[in-house]
Symmetry: C2
């Protein structure tokens, strides 16, 4: 019984590990190539397993893509929530959102390429965009609350959208060749610009 229990938990652990290896590999290949050109074989090879094994853990290429995207989105939004929630005052919350997202991008280039492509028409089968939409809305709500005090709903929305778009641009440029230092500088400039725009009453 003890032996069986030990064996079981070991199996569970191996299973979880495999899943994670495959997810990691998927994120990399999807991030580099995009959904369509990415081959399941390539993902399998990168994860160090055979193609059939991928299909033991995920029922289809789309499901794999979905899992990789959702997991990253979940983590990103969680971190943003924490960071923004901990900050005091409008300006600090704004800074927290932007710096946290840029920092997250720094450690997750592959995922952010997926994130970026997932919002485009045609890059990805349509229903896979639903996940993205949900997390997009979550971010906007977070921002509306963070920036909304003393503003009506419409103004809060505009501010939220502006912060979202400018941060997205920052990250996209980082993914497309800007250095980390340049991005850091750009980020400060954007924050300053936003502060001016949002504080001016």
């Amino acid at each position: 019984m003890s032996a069986r229990a030990a064996a079981d938990s070991k199996r569970k652990a191996v299973t979880a590990l495999r899943q994670d290896e495959i997810l990691q590999a998927a994120r990399h290949v999807f991030g580099q190539r995009g959904f369509n050109p990415a081959g399941v074989d390539e993902i399998a090879r990168r994860a160090g397993v055979a193609k059939g094994t991928v299909y033991l853990y995920y029922p289809s290429k789309q499901a794999l893509y979905r899992a990789a995207l959702r997991e990253g989105l979940r983590e990103l939004v969680e971190r943003l929530r924490e960071a923004v929630g901990a900050a005091q005052g409008m300006r600090a919350r704004l800074g927290a959102y932007v710096t946290t997202k840029v920092a997250f991008a720094e450690g997750h280039h592959d995922f952010l390429r997926m994130y970026s492509a997932a919002s485009e028409a045609g890059g990805v089968p349509l229903h896979l965009q639903r996940d993205f939409r949900g997390f997009y809305e979550a971010q906007l709500e977070l921002l509306e609350q963070a920036l909304g005090e003393g503003r009506d709903a419409a103004a809060a929305r505009v501010a939220a959208v502006a912060v979202f778009d400018l941060t997205g641009g920052l990250i996209k440029r980082r993914l497309f060749g800007r250095t980390r230092e340049e991005t850091e500088r750009d980020m400060r400039a954007v924050l300053e610009l936003l502060s001016k725009a949002l504080e001016a009453r």
Copy 2:
């Protein structure tokens, strides 16, 4: 001789028309589906010709995509140049850029979907992105000049990039379901926000 000349010029005209029909169809299908999922057969059907005919006018699917994208980019940048060039004063130039681009988007949804996807990793074979890059730079330079007076180069660049990103976001949301009226309102809000940010010295 006169008969031959007439026949020739007629043929030329038909050829030009065909090319344009195909380009139009390509823009639509590429815009709806994205590069990879779009089928040449579907483009041909939509243009009212057989697949082989498409290959009489364009040597490959990629070449067709490239032609469709470049033509649209050329026209867009030309209009932006005209509008911004005609405006007097920083604020008017800012307004000209944003309203012209949003108005252009209104009449060219298909093209703008391509435009938007072309900037993503993986959506499109890599070397096709080169065209996009060139026109992206052209727009930034235009904006830097338009907004640059009384600003150093770095500040002008930041301002240009911010306007570019916010306008892009506006258009993307329009393509993804916002109504024309909502977009109009959003545009005014963004312009106000930008004016505050850029005029505050």
